[in-house]
């Protein structure tokens, strides 16, 4: 997939995605915290969390 906006570098992150870490760093950090909080909630079991994540990724045509 070709990025739709010019990126500051051609580096790829650990997921093989374009490195956008310098574009909105505070927002990226907050989103990462939210993702971690969601995955670590004990009131939703890990299998259900993963099934919902995969189902939503397919619905959104998100392949990574």
């Amino acid at each position: 997939m070709t990025p739709r906006i010019p990126l500051p570098s051609e580096e790829l992150n650990a997921l093989g995605l374009p490195d956008t870490s310098t574009l909105a760093p505070a927002l990226a950090a907050a989103r990462d915290q939210l993702r971690r909080a969601a995955f670590r909630m004990r009131s939703v079991d890990a299998v259900t969390t993963e099934l919902v994540r995969i189902r939503n990724a397919r619905h959104q045509t998100c392949f990574f």
């Binding site: 909105a24 927002l27 950090a29 907050a30 989103r31 909080a37 909630m41 004990r42 009131s43 045509t61």
Partner: protein, 188 residues
Amino acid sequence: MSVPVHGPVRENRAVTATWLDGLPAADTDWDRFAASWPVPFGALADVVVAAWDETDPVLLELCRLRMATLLGYAADQARRTERARAAGLDEVKVAELPSWPTSARFEARERACLALAEQFVIDANGVTDEQVADVTAHLGPQGCYAFVQALSVVETFQRACLTLGIQSVPDVDLIARPSPDESQEVPR
């Protein structure tokens, strides 16, 4: 048209979430849920604040209101963000928001952002290269990136609130951000 006067205090105090027993009393539905699950709600609050910090408040408010309309979230349509009001957004322009494609009150920059925001909510896969290029032409690459991230945050927030029956939420600068010690569930 008269413009309602709003002070710097919480203005959206109706507490209506009743489907879940045992929520503590608080000023707003959001506060009641946040008191019960401080870590995830605190993390979402932090993301919301970061989104507003990274984005032009008038642009984001216009898009937030439009997204609330598309999602049928009447309570969020009625709410106003103080940052946008302070930056000059008035009720006359908000009243013309449904006519943004043709109304002379909207600049090309605002139209580009509203077009992308609408498509983002309806179907993100349908966002076109041209829509992204149009926003990038006005905001620059970094601005476009932050704007799209902010749209995603607003959409997540609105869909979560709709799903949970959260009808009243504090303004962005008053939203609950619990301390790291406030929950035993997950360290922040």
